[in-house]
């Protein structure tokens, strides 16, 4: 029995076990300290819908062997451009939402292609380079937000300043178009975001379909053994670029869905560290540097958002101080460090 438990912990990974029990503990404690469980769970679901797509966006690149996408910010930038342009064009409602996505996809294809080409030139060092490509493109876009000729009064600084505001409200454009779509309200406390979850499910389905095609199959083969794929006549570089483009597109859509639910488009340095929570969530769901599945996405996003939602409310109630930010940093970055050190051991 002891052996068995040890085996399970070994397979699942100690950090995951700890985090899982921590979350369970939080849920148990919640009613004790006077927090409504149903609202908490509802919050978790809403945040799951907000963030799930960003987590999903990592999957194609992991599958093709490019590792964890530390350059997720490129997709986010594409998404931001889409969102900002749709507001500039004054398109509202679902039309606005899909205009944003459409433009974002176009930008994401271009950025993804360039990004993928770069990653092909530096095989083996993808992650560290990607991190800084992500950072530098976010700071580059800061300059762009200042000088791009957007005119909409809702987006630029009110008194004569140049450049876009740091946060732009999307209310009146496409705020909550998904969240409120077919929303199910139970009592005063629960509002199930059917639209968001359906949209997430749709993307999951599309990704699933992609990996059932000839191209998707080739990408999986590259990820599990690039030499094998090459010997089977697969154009490894091309397939990797396709996976990077796909990841970038999904990330772009992901950030738009996030903003749609959140209510604001956050520009400038806001996207800087956005890759880390998404990566941590995927890893928490059981993925590793070289392997990830849709199951990992769903479990991971749920667990991670669970921690993020529950820690502030429960912990603050217990010790009367807000440790949640620190705990979030420790959990998410600790998970990533763990995963980075873990795979090497398995290989050697």
């Amino acid at each position: 029995m002891k052996e068995k438990i040890k085996n399970i912990i070994e397979n699942v990974g100690l950090p995951r076990v700890i985090i899982f029990f921590f979350l369970v503990l939080l849920f148990i404690l919640a009613p004790v300290v006077g927090i409504r469980l149903d609202t908490s769970i509802n919050d978790v679901i809403i945040r799951f819908g907000m963030n799930g797509i960003l987590v999903l966006s990592l999957v194609p690149m992991v599958k093709s062997g490019c590792g964890l996408n530390f350059g997720l910010q490129l997709g986010i930038i594409a998404g931001l451009l889409g969102a900002v342009t749709s507001i500039e064009l004054e398109v509202t409602g679902f039309a606005g939402f899909f205009t944003a996505i459409g433009i974002a996809i176009l930008v994401a294809v271009v950025l993804g292609f360039l990004y993928g080409t770069l990653l092909n030139k530096i095989k083996g060092d993808e992650m560290v380079v990607a991190t800084y490509v992500g950072f530098s493109s976010v700071s580059f876009m800061c300059i762009m937000w200042l000088i791009l000729p957007f005119k909409s009064p809702n987006m630029i600084w009110p008194y004569g300043g140049t450049g876009l505001r740091t946060t732009i409200s999307n209310q009146g454009y496409w705020f909550h178009v998904l969240t409120d779509f077919l929303q199910i309200k139970i009592g005063n406390h629960i509002a199930f975001p059917t639209g968001t979850i359906l949209f997430f499910a749709l993307l999951v389905f599309l990704v699933w379909i992609f990996f059932r095609t000839k191209t998707g199959t080739a990408i999986v083969a590259i990820g599990s053994n690039p030499e094998y794929a090459k010997s089977c006549g697969v154009n490894v570089d091309k397939m990797r670029i396709i996976s990077v483009i796909l990841s970038t597109i999904i990330a772009a859509i992901g950030i738009i869905v996030y903003q749609e639910s959140f209510g604001f488009v956050q520009l400038y340095m806001a996207p800087l560290y956005m890759a880390f929570p998404a990566i941590a969530a995927l890893l928490l769901g059981g993925a590793s540097v070289g392997k990830a599945s849709i199951k990992n996405v769903i479990i991971g996003a749920f667990l991670f958002q669970g921690i993020l939602t529950m820690t502030p409310s429960v912990i603050n109630n217990i010790i009367k101080s807000d440790m949640s930010e620190s705990i979030r940093i420790v959990v998410s970055n600790g998970m990533i460090v763990y995963a980075l050190t873990r795979t090497m051991r398995v290989r050697s």
Partner: protein, 541 residues
């Protein structure tokens, strides 16, 4: 007692097995101080294991040690790590250079043995903080280099040295360990040109003259005949014969190395097949495959035959198939069905109708973490669009798992692959079954030429003949040309219609399987003068 004084090393009745597989049987060798012993044998004859035992390679201990007695310098020894062996006075020059590329010859010769100057900080942080005594280092290095009597600048950086100089540096490092009494060299001349090799051999002789005993492995017959005091020929883990160079000839050595006559009888009962049409013509092929470099090999293969490529490890036989299939950078002319084909493009070559079962099953033969049916169908899907359904007017090529599984089942049945079902991960299969899986992958493609490299490596005896039978049956059933590359001469002779032997990256000669094994041995040892060349139209300059 007298005899013990005379010998530096005595190995008595040494036996070694790896998991029940006997690799050394009753080895008795004795070496006098200053004696040079040449070790000759085919792949797997036990040369490396013998060296590993002497040098205390941890792998020997991990696999249960060895039986028998080794007396070195008057004491019975059993080294558990190379460091013990070095302390006792045994040096080893590996086939791969063990040198720090950015260091000078001096720094490499003295690596970890640097003389240092005392320093107060060492009292606190340990001896590691002593400062290197560069002057003394250079002095010692020069002394070691002088022992070799070669021109080697002690300040030269290894990265910038010609290969021969790197080898000198390695030897100098071993010599510098003052206690070195026995020096072992594993193919010290393999990567060198002829003139460089000559110098290395001279160095070895000089060292011997200074009292250092030497054991060296080589496949260059001339070297061995010229330099050794004694030649030990190993075959199948036992000493076949000890020969004295002045009293022997290349033929005798080759005979002792290969010497099996069983095969001829089998072939007596078989017909010698005749082929008319040439399907593949290789001319001056160069392949840049590390460790298996091909240096301008030329040969022709006939349609429908089973063509064997043999030779010793590291001579380039594996590079030929890998090069033609585009897995390593290749140059040269390859004509397939009379048409020149592009090299360095795996997809193109596969599309032309050639396919490859790699020697590296785990590396590029299989998707270990994917199910069996994926492994069987993947190549065909990518190359021929098999197993796909076009949806939405061809925009989406949907993977048809159902057909994949059906076909996989067929092959599991036909090749008798032992597995739970077609969804099992290929990692979980045994070596023999993995090999069958690799072949199934290629069979699905229905190629015109099939390259198979080391088909029986690492699989058990029963599975070996099964694999070879499968290949033969496939050949006769579909008339597919098969090119088998193998280290096992025996299996080539059993299976092939003609056998080419590769030496130094070129075809040394092509022989019928019925030829005298000695001829094969001579070719492997780089002596083609006496070999029959009836089958060899190419290969000459």
């Amino acid at each position: 007692m007298e005899s013990k004084e005379k010998y530096l090393l005595k190995m008595e009745h040494v036996n070694k097995d790896f998991y029940g597989n006997k690799v050394l049987k009753n080895i008795n060798i004795s070496i006098r101080p200053g004696e040079i012993i040449g070790l000759v044998g085919e792949n797997g004859a036990g040369k490396s294991t013998l060296m590993n035992i002497l040098f205390g390679d941890p792998i020997i201990h991990e696999t249960g040690g060895f039986e028998g007695k080794i007396i070195f310098d008057g004491k019975e020894v059993n080294f558990s790590s190379p460091l013990d062996a070095i302390d006792a006075g045994i040096g080893m020059v590996h086939q791969e250079f063990v040198l720090i590329p950015g260091f000078t010859a001096t720094e490499n010769i003295l690596l970890t043995k640097e003389p240092t100057r005392y320093n107060l900080l060492s009292e606190v942080f340990g001896d590691k903080l002593n400062v290197l005594d560069r002057k003394e280092m250079k002095k010692q290095a020069i002394k070691a280099i002088e022992m070799l009597e070669v021109e080697l600048d002690p300040e030269m950086i290894v990265k910038e040295m010609p290969v021969g100089y790197k080898q000198f540096t390695e030897i100098a490092r071993e010599v510098n360990k003052k206690s070195t009494k026995l020096l072992m060299l594993d193919e010290p001349t393999a990567v060198l040109t002829e003139s460089e090799a000559d110098i290395v051999m001279k160095v070895i002789k000089k060292l011997a003259a200074k009292g250092v005993s030497i054991i060296f492995i080589s496949h260059r017959l001339q070297e061995i005949l010229d330099s050794c005091d004694k030649i030990v020929v190993l075959r199948d883990g036992s000493i076949q014969k000890e020969l004295i160079p002045s009293e022997t000839n290349p033929r005798e050595i080759a005979e002792n190395m290969v010497g099996r006559e069983l095969v001829k009888d089998i072939w007596k009962s078989k017909e010698i097949r005749k082929f008319e049409e040439t399907i593949l013509e290789v001319n001056k092929l160069w392949v840049d495959m590390p460790g298996e470099q091909v240096n301008g090999a030329s040969f022709k293969v006939n349609k429908g035959e089973i063509f064997g490529i043999g030779g010793l490890t590291g001579q380039g036989k594996l590079g030929i198939a890998n090069g033609i299939m585009g897995l390593y950078t290749a140059e040269g002319e390859v004509k397939f069905k009379g048409k020149f084909i592009h090299l360095n493009n795996p997809k193109y070559v596969l599309e032309q109708g050639m396919a490859f079962v790699s020697e590296d099953r785990h590396g590029l033969g299989l998707l270990l973490d994917q199910p069996i049916f994926w492994n069987i169908a993947f190549t065909a899907m990518q190359i021929k669009d098999n197993f796909t359904k076009s949806l939405l007017g061809g925009i989406i090529k949907w993977r048809d798992d159902k057909v994949m599984i059906e076909v996989a089942r067929e092959y599991i049945e036909a090749l008798k692959i032992k597995c739970v079902n077609e969804k099992q991960f290929s990692r979980e299969l045994s070596g023999g079954n993995q090999q069958k899986l690799c072949m199934a992958k290629v069979f699905v493609l229905r190629p015109e030429i099939m390259f198979v490299s080391e088909p029986t490596r690492g699989i058990d005896v029963g599975a070996k003949s099964l694999v070879l039978d499968t290949l033969r049956r496939y050949n006769s059933k579909y008339g597919t040309t098969i090119i088998i590359t193998s280290s096992e001469l025996e299996e080539l002779r059993l299976t092939c219609d003609r056998i080419a032997i590769v030496d130094e990256g070129r075809i040394a000669g092509i022989l019928p399987p019925t030829a005298n094994p000695v001829e094969f041995g001579l070719l492997m040892l780089g002596k083609k003068s006496e070999a029959e060349e009836v089958f060899t139209d190419e290969g000459k300059d």
